[in-house]
């Protein structure tokens, strides 16, 4: 009797292990990765995340299930087709680099191209571009053992990129590095990804990393995906205690958008209206600040009540609006908004891409949403 038999589908991982002496590495794992998306798989060691990424490139064969890249089922490729698939469509960056110690940096970066049978001149040219891209210009002739961990992983990245794959698999690429270097490499990768826009499956055990690089995150435990969603969804609505424990270490402001923390202004004032009426309205509404808009609803700025009371002419008002804090985009991250707010004496207006006023962020609105 096999552990794969349908009647065993309901059994737990430990039941199957004691009954068949086999470990369930992955079970019921289904997900789609969109073109150009960075999909992060996160979990502790033993959760099956490394097995998962190796199944995608068939370094580990799946016992059942399918993996589709575009229309093609990877699990049904022949030996030869698999080789071509690995040579052209997909490449991988490894946790412990997997570099060839007997070769220099350039010949390491070339490896994928060399295996493909590309001429020496052409592969040097292509690999050079990638080495420049990852910041290793001038290190081509060094032995890889002479490089620091961070630089070795840059070689690994250049090697993976040199074959111009559509899909990039990253198996905990930064886990072996010092924390400082790790953070630096992470943000560099995020920058790089904006430029190269590869479809990426990124494995990590660090939610902080997942949130920085990921468009979507899947959290795994015991071979199963327990939650999948955008960083914001996962941090704001963790599905169970296990996920909550992870999210506690991640600061919320990393995933919050400005729109999530903005509130309605105390008073919206269309600029063309009479100034004396504004002062009356201020008193009746008891407003502390006023957001000014033009006739089409575009934000002009936010002013405090005290300042408005001292304004004598509309020229003076125009001048003060020009001096007031510039608006912030509703889709941008909350972190730069906090900085802006700290340097401003007034609330900061929030606008959409058409400059239309959507709300304001105030010190209390941000503090409230971060404390939740």
């Amino acid at each position: 009797m096999s552990a794969m038999a349908p009647e065993n589908a309901g059994k737990s991982r430990s039941e199957i292990q004691s009954e068949f002496n086999q470990v369930v590495a992955l079970r019921d794992v289904s997900f789609d990765v969109k073109k150009g998306e960075t999909f992060v798989v996160m979990g502790l060691s033993g959760s099956g995340k490394s097995t998962l990424v190796r199944c995608l490139i068939r370094l580990i064969e799946t016992t059942s299930g399918s993996i589709f890249v575009e229309e093609e089922d990877v699990t049904s490729l022949s030996e030869r087709e698999l080789r071509d698939f690995r040579r052209t469509k997909i490449s991988m960056v490894f946790q412990n680099f997997g570099l060839l110690p007997h070769r220099n940096v350039m010949d390491n970066a070339c490896y994928g191209l060399e295996v493909k049978g590309i001429s020496r001149l052409e592969r040097y040219e292509k690999a050079q571009k990638m080495l420049d891209l990852v910041g290793l210009n001038g290190w081509e002739d060094s032995r890889v053992s002479q490089l620091s961990g961070g630089m070795q992983q840059r070689v690994g990245l250049a090697r993976a990129l040199a074959v111009e794959p559509e899909i990039l698999l990253m198996d905990e690429p930064f886990s072996g590095l010092d924390p400082l270097i790790r953070r630096q490499m992470r943000s560099e990768l995020a920058e790089l990804q904006k430029e190269i826009k590869k479809t990426m499956v990124f494995i990590t055990h660090d939610l902080d990393e997942a949130v920085t690089v990921g468009d979507r995150i899947a959290i795994m435990r015991d071979g199963e995906i327990i939650q999948m969603g955008t960083p914001e969804e996962i941090i704001l609505n963790p599905v169970d205690d296990f996920v909550t424990e992870f999210t506690e270490d991640v600061s919320k402001e990393r995933v919050l958008n400005v729109s999530a923390v903005s509130v309605d202004p105390d008073l919206i004032w269309t600029h063309s209206q009479d100034l004396t009426k504004l002062k009356d309205d201020l008193n009746t509404a008891g407003a502390q600040h006023v957001a000014f808009v033009n006739e089409s609803g575009n934000s002009l700025g936010v002013l405090m009540r005290n300042d408005i009371e001292q304004i004598a002419s509309s020229e003076e008002l125009d001048h003060m609006l020009r001096e007031s804090s510039p608006a912030i985009l509703n889709s941008s991250n909350v972190r730069p908004a906090i900085l802006k707010l700290a340097n401003s004496e007034t609330p900061v207006p929030v606008v959409d891409s058409q400059k239309k006023l959507l709300g304001v962020i105030t010190q209390s609105s941000i503090l409230k949403s971060l404390a939740e």
Binding site: R83, R87, F94, F97, Y111
Partner: protein, 331 residues
Amino acid sequence: MSTTDKEIENLKTGTSRRVNISLKKIYFPSVVILATIVLSTMIHGAGFEFALDFPIDTSKEIEGFLDDSVDWIVINFGDFFDAISDALKVVLGKLRDLLVWIPWPVMMALVFIIGWKVASLKIAAMSVIGLAILATVNLWEPTMVTVAIMIVSVFLSIVVGVPVGILAARSDAVDTGIRPVLDTMQTMPSFVYLVPGIMLFGLGNVAAIFATVLYALPPCIRLTNLGIRQVDASVVEAGRSFGSSYMQLLFKIQIPMAIPTIMAGINQTVMMALAMSTIAAMVGAGGLGIEVLRAMGQLKEGEAIIAGCAIVILAIIIDRISQGYIENRTS
């Protein structure tokens, strides 16, 4: 009461658990030893014939079978072995002539340059001093003959050993299959190889080369196997992920990364081949080995010691140069 307290208490009262266990350990062996002595005495006393001499003796049959097999091979494949023998004789002869033909200053300069480039200046200088000692005791020519035999033996060992080692590394079945063969080759007294060597290839250098190759082959196979198996699995995995074929994996990753270990195996092969040179001299191999044997036969112990030391010096020169090469490559 904690465990330690209990143990201290036990030690005081002499009832330590450790003492109890060691009593049990002694009990069984002492019964076995006692039984052995009693049984043996009884059998000798009673004079049981069948228990004193083993009732079956098959040695004659097996010996006869092995003799017949070797004879059969010699009769049926004689031409084949003669052809190999002739070819080897030619190659060895030319190589020996070449080495002897090169004048000593040229040879010393050559060794110096090789030692310097491959290992270090210090090793190069020491090698030349070593060669100079060999020349001053009038053993230059035998040394060159030994070197020629060694080059051929080691070359054959590598040609056979490295591919077999690679096969053994790539297939567990091959590895399991050849392991007892290698164990036999390494533990079998090397004299045993000499007679079949003579019967197959005739008296002389080729039989000596045959015996030397059999003796020197195992470390080459073993260390090639080990070297390839030791290659970091994560690097091999990375190689596979880029779509390497079987051959690309072997020649671009596994063999290059195993080179230091393979070189250590070759170094071992060279040393074992040198160790065989005296034994090989018994079947007619020339060189330093025959000098040792002849001096021994004539009871000229001084000459024998000098020739023996010459083999040691030659071994040290070759070893230091090849070790230097391995070190330079790995660092």
